[in-house]
């Protein structure tokens, strides 16, 4: 074993824990979503369950994150289209509350659909 050999083994011994920590830690895990409030965009991770309150143009919308999914649970708008959109879990899925000017989009590497037309 030459000195370079020990360096190579040391490099491997340091690389492996780094890979395990960087790839398997919970913070990086799962997908994330963006919440657009007017012109303001915030990114949230869907890894931890919690409820968000977002103040929009009309009032406060409540957005819930649970088990890697996100949805509107309450909104001050009339139509409640955003709530009827239900849970969003896959990359590219989208729900918007136009009266309150808040929208939620799930991010990911590749969206399942380019666009959906009703």
């Amino acid at each position: 074993m030459t000195r370079a050999d020990y360096c190579a083994v040391l490099f491997a011994a340091l690389l492996l824990p780094y890979l395990y920590i960087s790839q398997w830690s919970d913070d990086e895990a799962g997908i994330s979503a963006t919440i657009m409030n007017g012109n303001e965009t915030t990114k949230v991770s869907l890894a931890h369950n919690h409820t968000l309150k977002v103040d929009g143009a009309l009032g406060t919308s409540i957005i819930k994150i649970e088990d890697g999914k996100i949805r509107f649970v309450a909104s001050p708008c009339l139509g409640k289209q955003c709530i009827h959109s239900g849970w969003l879990a896959h990359a590219g899925e989208f729900a918007a509350c136009l009266p309150n000017r808040i929208s939620v989009a799930v991010l990911g590497e590749a969206a399942r659909f380019d666009s959906i037309i009703f």
């Binding site: 030459t2 000195r3 083994v9 395990y20 790839q23 590497e109």
Partner: protein, 199 residues
């Protein structure tokens, strides 16, 4: 490659292919690597992409004994002919195998330019195995499974690469020691014979 002084030639309908001793060496070593490659492809694998990579033992031994150029020949022939014989030529398996071989050859090229004594068999096998895995992994990511989730597999695959890299390094080291011993025995026996003849 072609050396006119060598007359090991195949003649057919007036076409003569001249082969040099280097060609023969490459062919023998590549045949050995191909045989190992094929035997290994029959072994069941616990995880896709995890293979002992014993054919790389030949590549590294060739790299140490005959240099980088010969190692490139042997490795590329092994991937090409091995895939044709198994029937995976130009399939995803071939792409992965090919990209891994290219990555490990690139790393070996870098290693051949190290100052000082450079890397020994174990270090070379280790870095070649890791480069092989990275090359294979990125090809799989770019061409076949472009999903972030694939990176969850990387730590496991890399662990396997490190373990198998060190094991094949130990194999290469004992192989080279064995060859060295045989070479010494051969030279001493030939000198002994010569001495006997002289007597």
């Amino acid at each position: 490659m072609s050396d006119p002084s060598n007359n090991a030639a195949a003649t057919k309908a007036g076409i003569t292919i001249k082969t040099s001793p280097e060609d023969h060496l490459i062919a023998w070593l590549a045949a050995l690597a191909i045989a190992i490659h094929i035997i290994e492809s029959v072994l069941p694998s616990p995880l896709p992409g995890v293979k002992p990579g014993l054919a790389n033992v030949i590549t590294i031994a060739v790299f140490i004994l005959y240099g980088w150029r010969t190692a490139v020949w042997v490795s590329m022939l092994r991937v090409l002919v091995g895939s044709i014989l198994i029937g995976t030529f130009l399939s995803p398996t071939f792409m992965l195998s090919f990209s891994g071989a290219v990555a490990s050859l690139l790393v070996l090229w870098l290693a051949s330019h190290l100052p000082g004594k450079g890397l020994g068999p174990i270090g070379l096998c280790l870095i070649a195995a890791m480069a092989h895995m990275f090359g294979q992994f990125y090809t799989a990511y770019l061409l076949f499974i472009p999903h972030q989730g694939l990176f969850k597999l990387l730590p496991l695959l890399m662990t396997a690469a490190v373990i198998f890299g060190i094991i094949s390094g130990i194999i290469v080291r004992s192989m080279l020691q064995h060859l060295e011993k045989r070479k010494n025995n051969a030279t001493t026996s030939t000198t002994a014979q010569r001495n006997e003849q002289e007597e």
